[in-house]
């Protein structure tokens, strides 16, 4: 059976738990093993959030460092922070957004993308927040990235776009989310 280690990250409040959960649910619904390890509480108040998603035959809930196949990140600094989870050749789908922590002088978007590339990662920087905002709901940025990842990365080999869509249709804000997902998919195909 194929397996995939996915790191889902971003800033608390961006819809990271939801994103990870959709991946897990879609995988489970298609008969694939899935574990999604969340952290609640403190980290949700605008702090750094990382969720471990393991698809396939994994038993333990956490992705080992250096073994992430795919990262979906809603913010660039967080992509950088958890980059050591990734293996060489791993794929990173990330929003271009930088949310500056209080009192800090973070590196620029270009610097971060260049750094991730120099680590041997395939980086896809997407304007997900802007795409979602254009749709009228910035909270749908998570689904834009998911659509992109399914169209563009290894995730698409394990998850069917239709099964994700079906899940989105059942959830809150279905209409916007399905649109956002499709926009993400077409952005992913375009490249």
């Amino acid at each position: 059976m194929q397996s995939l280690n996915v790191i889902v990250t971003g800033v608390g409040g961006q819809g990271i738990l939801t994103l990870a959960r959709i991946i897990g649910e879609a995988a489970a619904a298609s008969g694939l093993g899935a574990l999604v390890a969340e952290t609640h509480g403190l980290s949700q108040r605008g702090g750094s959030v990382v969720v471990h998603v393991r698809l396939g035959e994994a038993e333990a809930p956490l992705v080992p460092e250096g073994e992430g196949d795919l990262m979906i990140s809603m913010e660039l600094l967080e992509a950088l922070r958890y980059s050591s989870y990734m293996r060489r050749g791993g794929e990173v789908v990330t929003d271009k957004l930088i949310i500056k922590p209080y009192g800090s002088r973070p590196p620029s978007a270009e610097e971060i993308v260049a750094e991730l590339r120099s680590m041997g990662l395939n980086v896809y920087a997407v304007e997900a927040a802007s795409i979602a905002e254009a749709l009228g709901d910035v909270r749908a940025a998570n689904v834009v990235l998911l659509g992109y990842a399914i169209a563009r990365t290894q995730l698409g080999k394990l998850l069917k776009a239709e099964s994700v869509e079906a899940l989105l249709r059942r959830g809150k804000g279905a209409e916007t989310n399905v649109k956002a997902f499709k926009l993400g998919m077409s952005a992913g195909k375009e490249r």
Partner: protein, 640 residues
Amino acid sequence: MSYPEVLAAPGSRVFTLGNVAIARACIEYGVGVAAGYPGTPSSEIIEAIAFAAKKLGYPYVEWSVNEKVAFEVAYGAAIAGVPSVVAMKHVGLNVAADPLFSSAYTGVEAAFLVVSADDPAMWSSQNEQDNRIYGLHAYVPVFEPAGAQEAREAALEALKFSEEQKHPVILRTVTRVSHTRALHVFGELRKPRLVGSFKRDPSRWALVPANARKRREELIAKWQRFSQLLSSSPLNSAEGPETSKLVVVGAGTGYRYAREALRRLGLLGEVRLIKISTSVPLPREFLAKELVGKEKAVVIEEGEPVVEDQLKLLSFDLGLQLSVAGKRSGHIPLSGELKVEKVAEGIARALGLSPPAREVMRPSISAPPRPPLLCSGCPYRGVFYSLRKVASKMRLKLIYSGDIGCYSLGINPPLSSQDTLVEMGGSLGLGAGFSHVVKDALVVATIGDSTFYHAGLPGLVNAAYNSAPMLVLVLDNGTTAMTGHQPNPSSGENLRGEAKRVSAEEIAKAAGADGITTVRSFSLEEVDKGVAEALREAASGKLHVLVARGPCVLTAMAEAREKGISRPVYTVLEERCKACTICYNLFACPAIVSTQDGKAKIDPRLCTGCGVCAEVCPFEAIVPESKVEKEWREMLLAKP
């Protein structure tokens, strides 16, 4: 929160949190009473049971004011023959430790499940305690699921065992069990048992010394029987060649890490692997059979070496020549949570193999830390800001005796208003201690509403009784926000509907505070005045209570959405902004950022419309961009 999956039809395959699976097990078992106090990572258990109760009409479920009371409520019901569950985070069991020990002496009449959700790696806690040790100490068996995957089964087995033995049982989870989603197959719902009867028997239920001594003898006998019975628990098993001289023991969630690590080392199916999900007391007979003839054992478990130590004792008692590796031997780190790579390395080293090669790339630039923050629009921000400002104007040095809740986040600069932070309710006791000995600073004990009812009351009464001069700041936002907005005695509702509102001011008055002031958190002017008065009183040697009241902005926003009330967004008038930096550097709402020229700018996506920054700005440069609806202001400023 909504948990529709907890009521999925029997036989459904449900992908959900370990905590929800535990809640389902309780419903399936027919539990009649569920109680708890919110705490990460345990809160979803009671929340999901409450969700089910709304639909089913059972079981009776409550958020109690603290873990001790929650424990007693469930314990009482179990004495009266109603199967019950109490759920809490690991440190909550410290609060409930007193009845825990007694419950082992008296036993119960129906199942009594005590869920302790431990938090290795301290994702949301002040320590890393392993509550399996309570099991050893209190003579209460401990079951621990082998990963989130087994959460439901382990809970059901624990309930069954508790009922059969008429004895409390601890179900110990960890963050990675409680908060990991996995696939579960749900079973049938048994008929709940909701009504009990109390069988009078003081020799059993009343632990005066004469009775307790008898119970103690029985307890010791029971404990030996438990170890035997657990030896045949379906939760414990072994795989791999019996003839192997090497054995790896995985306890609880440790089993998953052990199994994956063995696979990675190419040793799965080559060495004996034992799964233990009943860690306390150790199933000695089962293990004795397994350990005979073995030379080396490696124990993998989350937390302290609880199984490892018991295993060593067993091996000693059996006279085995077994060398045991694990946390004591340094093969597995004592602190933090388990990781597959660490476990694989530890097993390899223990067996004298070379650890598997790994490549971990680290970036050469680093991301600045991102600590969690008070939300934009949080009622606490203005209060903390005011405290700093007014105290400095009055030339008062403050000791901020802090507590546990969202306001703990005030620890971060620029608010920096939590100097100590030790445990629930600690602000008052510690604060009193400071007030009696520190003469060059004034104590401000800050405590949220939920924490105040939880463990603040004795501290307050004591401060009044023993005349501790200090300011007690009760931050009342009407909810238990940090753990997910559970209701508490300040909310006016409980898990079953409307409820009495217990007033902090009346409690303070009854406790004997010298003075009480109430302010509305979203009116900075009012807060400034109240803070000045309260500081003056406290500085003159009084015990003064200041209640700052204003809803958590997240609940206010949710209410506004529900009622169709629109919220304003605030904006900075560029021409009026003098780039003084106060709003983004000292008040520091996360929605306010600085522009190139040092002027302020508000991110409309983050602004919640609380309006406090408009009062913070000395140049009246911050104004609402859209109309401020009266209903919105009333919501923020209600309940003086």
